[in-house]
């Protein structure tokens, strides 16, 4: 099941890893993504650290680490084809996988229905 943050990220548990991306709503708001800068695998992050830079034609924005943990894998396909973020934000265009230091931090996030209500 996907969980959603107020920062418009989605998180999906996959074995002992958590896959992170941005929501369809966020991708629509950003517009055409032209550049993605991913963190290094093995980076240890704290919740709200800026981990990914994403740029549209008009502006740059950051994606924050949703929880504490370690980046275990990044989707380097996005570096060469950043437009995937617009084409399939909640599928192929995941940004990174991480191992959570404290999986209970996931509990505060919304489910899909809650997120839909949040974005109104």
């Amino acid at each position: 099941m996907m969980k959603f943050t107020e920062e418009h990220e989605w998180l999906r548990v996959e074995g002992d890893e958590i896959v992170v991306g941005i929501t369809i709503h966020a991708a629509e708001q950003l517009g055409d993504v032209v550049f993605v800068e991913l963190p290094s695998e093995g980076t240890v992050v704290s919740k709200d650290d800026e981990v990914v830079v994403i740029e549209s034609v008009k502006a740059a924005s950051d994606i924050l680490a949703p929880i504490d943990g370690e980046i275990t894998e990044v989707n380097s396909t996005l570096t060469d084809t950043p437009g995937m973020v617009n084409d399939d934000p909640q599928g192929e265009a995941w940004f990174f996988k991480m191992k959570a230091s404290d999986p209970s931090q996931m509990d505060e996030f919304m489910d899909e229905a809650g997120y839909q209500k949040f974005i109104g």
């Binding site: 517009g31 055409d32 550049f35 740029e55 549209s56 034609v57 570096t79």
Partner: protein, 374 residues
Amino acid sequence: MSDLQQTPLYDLHLELGGKMVPFAGYSMPVQYPMGVMKEHLHTRNFAGLFDVSHMGQVILSGASWEAVATAFETLVPMDVLGLADGRQRYGLFTNDVGGIEDDLMFARRGNDLFVVVNAACKGADIARMKAALEPQVTVTAIDDRALIALQGPGAEAALATIDPTAANMRFMDFGALSLDGVEVWASRSGYTGEDGYEISVPADEAETVVRGLLAIEGVEPIGLGARDSLRLEAGLCLYGNDIDAQTNPVEASLNWAIQKIRRAGGAREGGYPGAQVVQAAFEDGVARKRVGLAPQGRAPMREGTQLYDAEDGGRLVGHVTSGSFGPTLGMPVAMGYVGAEYASVDTALWGEVRGKRLPVSVAKLPFVAANFKR
């Protein structure tokens, strides 16, 4: 936000799904559902329709063309008097230190001048013209007309389906057209590097005219986002970013805009604010120049990015004034100011983006060749 002004096309923007943002005191569409990238490419390949009604339209009139033109020449370093009827020219208001107060387009309409200025500067521009030119010249701000731009290789064919005489205009011609019975003032010019027209339309007819144009196959509404990336690829300055009150025209690489007749040794040399500074800049050169900048990686270098002459250490040699992604080229594009010794094409520099120095080359402007019908 409630004090934002609306153009005569505001309701139509909402109907078309425009994403409205505040811009120079107006609520303007930054993009439509097509999105900035596709809107940009559509304009380069077909035809884009832009609402630029936020810009200032002004008419200067007086006893004769000579009276109007010579008066206007006291404010701009351009050859105004030599402008033929029905022709348009690019201009600059200068200040006492040779800086640029605004850039503008001016066209001769019989004995009158029709002037289009930037939205953010229009109040100051109108005040400047009134203070300097009245009462000999009457300065009339036009508040009852919309301004639209139809740009792209398909613009001529589209406009000519409504008034075939549109096809007879050449680049920088100006004149009246009749669009389904509505008399409009059109110039064959724009802000995209493409062929096209800017069209002044009575406000109460604007929506009808725009609906008529949008009904033509290949014409799509385009927002301010794509307008900005189009003008940047075309190497055109955005006032407030690439030129400002502290930048003189020679630093801005706008020498071409100052005709010989107004330069030192010309028949009507000087006589505009800051003329001595500008003439000295022509003669002695300048310490910094506006140049095109091509980031070598995929990361855009935005406005404010600092430029260095080495990857580590080195000297700060300039900064970016406009930077974005160029959809036509599929790579980032920028312009900015660098020390004159770094201004030649292909000079290797480094731009500092999020603490990292990334390679960027000085590039020839425009990035995308102009496609005008001369």
